[in-house]
Symmetry: C2
Subunit: 155 residues, 2 copies
C-alpha cells in the first residue's frame, strides 16, 4: 500500500469525526443488546476492578473521567447486584477497597464472552492484518486524548 493518492486531510478528518460520532451514539444501545444484565458503565468499572484485584472509587473516577458521585452510584448498583464488595482499608478509614465477588467475576466473564462474540461476528470478514491496523489506530487515537488526564485544573 502507501504511494497512492490519499484524500486530503480535511476529508479524512471529516469522516473520522462523523463516524466516531455515529459510533458513540450507538454504543450504549449496542452494549445493552449484547449484555443486558450488565449496563455499559458498570461493565467497564467492574472489569477494571477485577483486573486490578482491588481498587478505590477515586481511582475509577480519575481513570474514566467520571465524577465521584457517578462512580459512587454505579458501585452502589454493582454492590446491590452482588458483583462487588467494599472492604474498608485498614490503613485509611476513608477509603474502601473494591473487589469483584465470585458472582461479579462470573457475570463479567459472560458479558465479556458475549461482547467478544459480537465483535467477532461483526468483524468476521476482516483480515488479521486489517484488525491489527484498526486496533493500532484506535489505540493511538485514544492515547492522544488521555494525555491531559493527570492534571485537573481546579479553580
Amino acid at each position: 500500500m502507501t504511494g497512492g493518492a490519499q484524500p486530503p486531510r480535511e476529508t479524512s478528518l471529516d469522516v473520522i469525526q462523523r463516524e466516531l460520532t455515529a459510533f458513540a451514539r450507538r454504543a450504549r444501545a449496542a452494549a445493552a443488546r449484547v449484555h443486558p444484565e450488565l449496563p455499559l458503565v458498570s461493565y467497564t468499572l467492574l472489569a477494571h476492578i477485577e483486573e486490578r484485584h482491588g481498587c478505590r472509587a477515586t481511582d475509577l473516577a480519575a481513570h474514566y473521567l467520571l465524577d465521584k458521585s457517578t462512580v459512587s452510584r454505579q458501585l452502589a448498583g454493582l454492590e446491590k447486584l452482588g458483583f462487588v464488595e467494599r472492604r474498608p482499608a485498614p490503613d485509611d478509614h476513608r477509603v474502601q477497597v473494591l473487589h469483584a465477588t465470585e458472582a461479579g467475576t462470573k457475570v463479567l466473564a459472560t458479558a465479556r464472552t458475549n461482547r467478544q462474540a459480537a465483535y467477532q461476528e461483526r468483524l468476521k470478514d476482516w483480515s488479521a492484518e486489517d484488525l491489527a491496523h484498526f486496533a493500532a489506530y484506535l489505540l493511538r487515537y485514544n492515547d492522544a486524548g488521555t494525555n491531559d488526564l493527570p492534571d485537573r485544573p481546579s479553580p
Copy 2:
C-alpha cells in the same frame, strides 16, 4: 507496512473492543466540551437536516436507530432554540419537513468548526495516509452495523 507478523485476531478484537468502549464513554463529555451550546445528538440531527436540505423526523429515527419519540423531543428542543423549522408537507399532512433555520445553520457552522479544530489538534501528528486508513476502517466498521437501514427519501 504489511508483511510483518500480525498479532492474533483475538488480541486485535480485544483491543478494538476495549478502545471503542473507552471512546464511547468519553464521547459525550468531549462533545459537550467542544460545543457546549449544542448537545451531541442535537448537533448530529441538525447536521443531517441541513445536509439533506429538508427531511422527515422518521428518516432521522431510521438513520440513527433512534426511537421516534427521542427524535421528536430532540426536534422540539431544536425548534425551541430556533435552529429548525417544521413545514407541513403539502402532499402528505402527516409529515413535517424539517429545515435548518438561518440561526441553525450558523450555530452548526460554529460547532462544526470547533469540532474540526479539536480533531485537527488531536490528530495533528498523523500522516495523511494514516488518517485516510483510519477513516476507511471506521467507515467499514460502522457500515457493518448499519446494513439494515438504507436511506430512503420520501416516495
